[in-house]
Symmetry: C2
DNA sequence: AAATAAGCGGGGACTGTCTCCGGTTGATTC
DNA sequence: GAATCAACCGGAGACAGTCCCCGCTTATTT
């Protein structure tokens, strides 16, 4: 199961370089940035890129998984310092803002929530769903969130709020407002 | 301003054929269907396609504007036969279902609402926004919808609901549920 | 230092986009 | 209904992006 042999030093170096170049390129040119160009920027041949990341999707995921995990990790920090209802609200806000700020990240989080990606993305999805579950259940126990709603539904709706807000101006200036509309609908 | 000269018969025929082929191809292969292939299916050269529709976006819009207008037109029919609050709810439901069913239509309605497209799309946007305004204001007058919300915000939120529902299964099975959550948040 | 295999990288096939321009055809005029 | 003329057609081809293949390089092992 585990890698019997660690990655060769040059392979690892190229892998890192590619990840870095990819993050930069995706941020700059959107998620359709030229892959050959990313390879060039990283100083490797395109063959090397395609060996490490067979598809554009794989590269995109690899470049962003840690950001998604970071968002998931925020949930417990917030749970520790705020009452359940507020922690959930605040986390959803950070989730929306975080996904809207980085180009391409929103779609990725979307498919993580929808179980629609690779193994790496599925792991992220599990983290996010776990985080959401803890916050949602706490809020339900507290009585500030209606009982007939599931954590994954909250995630989907947050994704919807992000989309709605994005429609307004491309930035996330309406997130707070639309999110509060949602939480009103989610009260018991 | 007006076309001084009507389109030549063969030009008009090719235009229609292209529209038909495009609708079929987009429905079948998604919005990235090959344009040259669409031209081939329509029995014209690719030059002809690009003359009539300079960009993929233009073709996409031309192929779908009538559907969008049809949705907008439904608003008045519903307003005539239902009380304002119900008419709005029902219309939003039809809007969500309609945009999710046809591949690529959702994004188009989105940019129509966001004023992000061509002249043709802007016209559609005006229709939709007009329809929404009539329904929203009637519901507000009736007192079933909070007063501090604007028609365009309702449209954005409906778009968000569609996205959220789409995340569940790709179909629109959750639309009714998520929409009702939204309308609860929108009560006075 | 030699042996070995993991890894490199760029040439090239392929697909899709979009433009250009010689040839064709529908409209108009007499 | 023939002639004229512009509008229109269409496909060849330049270009850009994707992705694979395979001879060569180099890290690792002994």
């Amino acid at each position: 199961m585990a890698q019997v042999r660690p990655m060769r030093a040059d392979a690892r170096r190229n892998y890192e370089r590619l990840l870095k170049a990819a993050a930069a390129a995706f941020a700059e040119h959107g998620e359709n940035a030229s892959l050959d160009d990313i390879a060039k920027r990283a100083g490797v041949g395109s063959g090397t890129l395609y060996r490490h990341f067979p598809t554009r999707q794989a590269l995109l995921e690899a470049a962003y998984v840690d950001r998604i995990e970071a968002i998931a990790a925020r949930a417990d920090a917030l749970a520790a310092e705020l009452p359940p209802g507020e922690a959930l609200t605040q986390w959803l806000h950070e989730l929306c803002v975080g996904t809207i700020q980085v180009r391409g990240l929103k779609a990725l989080v979307g498919s993580a929530v929808a179980d629609g990606g690779s193994a790496a993305l599925t792991v992220c999805g599990t983290s996010i769903k776990g985080a959401a579950t803890r916050l949602v259940e706490a809020a339900q126990r507290e009585g500030t969130l209606r009982a007939d709603i599931e954590p994954i539904e909250v995630l989907r709706l947050a994704h919807g709020v992000t989309t709605a807000s994005e429609l307004a101006d491309g930035e996330g200036t309406r997130i707070r407002r639309y999110l509060s509309l949602l939480t009103e609908g989610l009260r018991p």
